[in-house]
């Protein structure tokens, strides 16, 4: 939780009032200060502390050995096999969750953009997965759905097999056999409504007259979608992907609850690996160095995200 050095430039603020005097300028800042000071103290100072700790050899189990080691924790971070696996897992997890939920969210948004019987109710029901507490959702998937003995998945398979005359369905241990897909599916379930809401807002912001003109001109639905809707939706899709990435990269609840990073370290992502380094191995210096690397990676993603938001923001301000 720190800041980026360079925010993308937005359009100059609209000239709302005449040139303000020095006293007025100062007075305008007063309502802003409490929020600004609070944010700097609570979010920036810990990062400075992280930077400092990352240069120490510091294991809480060996308190006498705390000493300055320069950048060697970073050498460790970049060469450690476990951390490299964690980086890879984070990329796989984040990319699959975000892409799948954007695709599903787009499909649902296109359906909900049109009128049909019970549309309001369907929309409300579709938002529900996003509103279930993430820890509760993870436990629900792990125990009520994936459980090999009485989970809903195997239970339904069993019922189907029996219906067709077989004695018993297969007993698949979903979480052990497919750990990464198990985590991904539970997260896609939670994040699809988020994407759907953003894309639905985008679809509904489409100027109706352009669509009407395309229809009058005899453009096919496919052509209308490709040449009018998709270009219009592009910035909403980008926004969904970027915000989704920022939130999903930080996934901790689902990994902690469903797989504990296992089997082995097959589903250990970076947040969970940092947590393990901190509270299981007590290697504070290494955990801090990994934290710094995560922050740097996030800055790259956030720069793109900020640019997208800035372009939407600029449109709004100049409107």
């Amino acid at each position: 939780m720190t800041t980026l050095t360079a925010a993308p430039k937005t359009a100059p603020p609209p000239a709302r009032t005449r040139k303000s005097s020095g006293i007025d300028k100062g007075r305008r800042r007063i309502p802003l200060l409490p929020a600004l000071v609070f944010t700097i103290v609570v979010t920036q100072l810990p990062f400075v502390a992280t930077l400092v700790i990352s240069t120490f050899q510091w294991n809480i189990l060996r308190p006498g050995e705390k000493h300055f080691v320069g950048l060697s924790n970073f050498t460790f971070v970049f060469t450690d096999e476990r951390l490299r696996t964690a980086v890879l897992n984070t990329v796989v997890l984040t990319a699959s969750v975000v892409l799948l939920s954007v695709v599903l969210g787009l499909g649902l948004a296109m359906l909900l953009d049109r009128r049909f019987a019970g549309r309001g109710l369907a929309r409300t029901m579709l938002i529900a997965p996003f509103l279930v507490m993430p820890v509760a959702a993870a436990l629900l998937w792990k125990h009520a759905i994936y459980n090999p003995d009485y989970g809903l998945l195997n239970g339904t398979l069993n019922a189907v097999y029996r219906f067709f005359g077989a004695a018993n369905g297969p007993t698949i241990d979903w979480v052990s056999s497919y750990p990464m897909p198990a985590v991904v599916i539970s997260l896609v379930w939670q994040w699809t409504p988020f994407m759907m809401l953003i894309l639905l807002a985008g679809l509904q912001a489409q100027p109706g007259d352009v669509l009407e003109a395309a229809r009058v001109d005899g453009a096919s639905a496919m052509a209308t979608f490709r040449h009018i809707t998709l270009p219009h939706l592009r910035q909403y899709i980008e926004l969904g992907i970027l915000l989704g990435t920022i939130y999903v990269v930080q996934t901790f609840d689902a990994v902690y609850t469903i797989t504990q990073g296992g089997p082995g370290s097959q589903t250990t992502n970076l947040p969970y690996e940092i947590y393990l380094t901190m509270f299981r191995k007590y290697e504070y210096g290494q955990a801090a160095a990994a934290g710094v690397v995560v922050v740097l990676g996030s800055i790259v993603i956030a720069t793109f995200a900020l640019r997208t938001i800035a372009s939407l923001f600029r449109e709004e301000v100049s409107r």
């Binding site: 309502p31 920036q44 509760a136 339904t156 988020f194 096919s220 934290g291």
Partner: protein, 296 residues
């Protein structure tokens, strides 16, 4: 995406038929019966785990852990009674305290800030906006270690106020962005006219700003409440017994009591209920909050 064009008749025409637009001025186009069926199928598929969770929470343990599943068995409130007799209450109270107080703090800090970023904007107000936003984009896990050490040194481990301060920082950027986008809708002409007429600040705030800001204030509080109520990472690592919140209760009761599926579903339903209610109530404003005010 394939490369069909307007002249590429077959698939285009099919799709057009499927999502045929009726001529009804003023309303959105209608879905055909086939696509209405698809829409409802997808909706029910997404809703099924929630429905299963709620249904199982009203079952006896013996009926919950059956294979194949037995949905049509007598319903009971036993699991909920058990939860309250096993002291879920302090956890719910901690959650309520952490989310309500942090939401109030967020509003107290964000509303004046949003005022200084929209109605009487400071110089370089866009830079300030992006500073707030950038703090939201960096992973909380990177702050966990220093926060843990500072909190430990201050003797504030296992204290609800620690969570309140962290949740306030976590939600403040969202609230500043949301409130600014609402306050920006206050009509400038009316503000200027009021100034010319010599209306004093309280009058302007009460008569002109408040009516526009109120729906925004409600939406912002709900979003902040949802995020604080659901937060797990800080809660599980910074609390032990006294200050633990509802999500910590959930993972704790799994490890300490083994698996009781019906009771787990009851607990999951119970702790999700406040957010489900808040989210349904605010659904038209949800997207604005989640996109930090970027999408209306």
């Amino acid at each position: 995406m394939s490369t069909h064009t307007a002249t590429d008749a077959a698939p285009g025409a099919r799709l057009k038929k499927l999502i045929h637009r009726h001529d009804d001025p003023g309303g959105a186009p209608r879905l055909s019966p086939l696509w209405t069926f698809v829409a409802w199928l997808a909706t029910l598929a997404f809703f099924a785990p929630v429905a299963w969770m709620v249904l199982t929470s009203f079952h006896q343990e013996a009926d919950a852990a059956t294979n194949p599943p037995t949905p049509f068995v007598p319903l009971t409130f036993d699991q909920y009674k058990l939860l309250f007799s096993r002291d879920i209450t302090p956890f719910l109270l901690n959650s309520a305290m952490a989310s309500v107080i942090s939401t109030l703090l967020v509003l107290a800090l964000a509303v004046p800030a949003a005022y200084a970023l929209s109605i009487k904007p400071v110089e370089k107000w866009t830079d300030v906006m992006f500073f707030f936003l950038s703090t939201k984009f960096l992973p909380a896990i990177a702050a966990l270690l220093p926060v843990y050490l500072i909190v430990k040194d201050a003797g504030m481990l296992d204290n609800v106020w620690t969570l309140i301060i962290l949740y306030t920082a976590m939600n403040l950027p969202i609230a500043v962005w949301m409130m600014r986008s609402f306050l920006a809708e206050v009509p400038k002409e009316i503000l200027e006219a009021a100034e010319v007429d010599g209306a004093n600040l309280p009058t302007v705030l009460w008569r002109i700003v408040a009516p526009v800001a109120m729906p925004g204030l409600a939406a912002t509080s709900l979003i902040c409440f949802i995020f604080s109520w659901n937060e797990f990472m800080f809660a599980v690592n910074l609390t032990a017994t006294q200050a633990s919140t509802a999500p910590v209760f959930l993972v704790g009761f799994i490890t300490s009591e083994g698996l009781f599926l019906a009771r787990l579903c009851a607990a999951a339903t119970l702790v999700s209920l406040p957010v489900l209610i808040a989210g349904f109530a605010a659904q038209d404003k949800l997207v604005r909050g989640l996109s930090l005010g970027a999408v209306k």
